[in-house]
Symmetry: C2
Subunit: 240 residues, 2 copies
């Protein structure tokens, strides 16, 4: 592996802890409107609709729609599935809850690691989140991205090859000069198939105490790091 | 005017001094290959082909092409116009010179002003420059953008309304929550027609000592500021 020029980060699960953040912001709304719904189970159910919604776009059955839109549709569906009435909750509350994805907290090592990595590399998200979602998240959490990239800019959802290849092209870089950083083996496999370098950073608490997937590397990734600070060490970044 | 949420900046001329930067990087190449060409006159001639090249895209006579591509075509044309042979200069040298647009220096107040503005607002370029150009420029010059927006992300060149309206939509904001900051009255007029707020920051040295245009505000702009630090003052940002 030659040294990459740009590090591209998966975000949900890799940079931020979506499950705790969604449960935190949903808890007071569920307590008032659907008290039988456990906030973490609600977060899991909302997230379970994420891949099927994007698959409609990836398969060409639906024009590209940004993730805020898919999340909003899925929110109403998951509430109805649980026997709650979205209309009784109200549009303003639903809109606010939908933006909980903009208010997720980073894992404890993420900001410190990114600051070190930014001194040597271009750093950007390559997420299925839309640009405003990722921007608002970064502004709130202090994620020091050089640019906000991902599905909305590439106009394709991961793991479609276009998501990776168009991002490299927009950066003016060969795929091999880009390294995908993710906690998900599937994302890295798709990136590697497009010629990107790969770094696996496991996040064993992403799915809560019962997590069984993505606990260990499942491919020939260029780097396996315990967290973003370890990644900075392995890529030769000076200490903070 | 209500307080904006996002400040969107024109870049060439407003944030960076393109004329001096292009002349600086062109000088050694011209000295070796086309010694009759004055570096500042060369910069002016290259820039003079900028609007006509984009107009091909705006008018629909050509599919969207990023500015690096248009600059590269214009570079060969301006050299040929001056009687120089691009082939004799060589592809690697031409490619390097084309990226002089990635290496422009900011006006002296720009970084300090942007740092103050970033603490209170989302700040992003809304430039006709492509994403890699703006990103490489920011990385070199320390421009602390929250995101890199502009023609490539909006898929439309200013002053087409789509360039402004799609940028606001991508940010999840109403046009009125966005303020266009520019040294060019024409850019502000187009932004205002789309409902954006406007701030004029004159750059009387943009075109060198003979500048006659854009020396004063020519419309009912919401703010007229002498530089980016004055803009931060006028928008109520705390001192550095």
């Amino acid at each position: 592996m030659t040294q990459p020029r740009a590090l591209l980060f998966d975000v949900f699960g890799t940079v931020v802890d979506w499950r705790s953040g969604i449960a935190r912001d949903a808890a007071p709304i569920l307590a008032a409107q659907a008290p039988h719904l456990d906030p973490h189970a609600f977060a899991d159910a909302w997230r379970a609709r994420y891949q099927p919604a994007m698959e409609e776009v990836r398969a060409g059955r639906r024009p590209f729609a940004r993730l805020d839109t898919l999340h909003r549709e899925n929110l109403e569906a998951v509430l109805r599935d649980a026997g709650a009435d979205p209309a009784a909750i109200g549009q303003a509350t639903l809109d606010h809850l939908n933006r909980a994805w903009h208010r997720l907290d980073p894992w404890p090592d993420a900001v410190a690691g990114l600051v070190r990595l930014k001194a040597r590399f271009v750093i950007a998200p390559l997420s299925n989140g839309n640009l405003a979602l990722l921007l608002n998240m970064a502004k709130r959490a202090g994620l020091p991205w050089d640019a906000i990239l991902g599905a909305e800019v590439a106009h394709a959802y991961k793991p479609r090859p276009e998501a990776y290849l168009r991002t490299a092209d927009i950066l003016g870089l060969e795929p091999a000069a880009c390294m995908m950083v993710a906690a998900h083996n599937g994302d890295l496999a798709a990136a590697r198939a497009c010629g990107l370098a790969t770094a696996f950073v496991p996040r064993p608490a992403e799915h809560g105490p019962g997590q069984t997937e993505d606990l260990a590397p499942a491919g020939p990734w260029d780097i396996v790091a315990t967290d973003f600070c370890d990644l900075a060490d392995r890529l030769g970044c000076p200490p903070a």
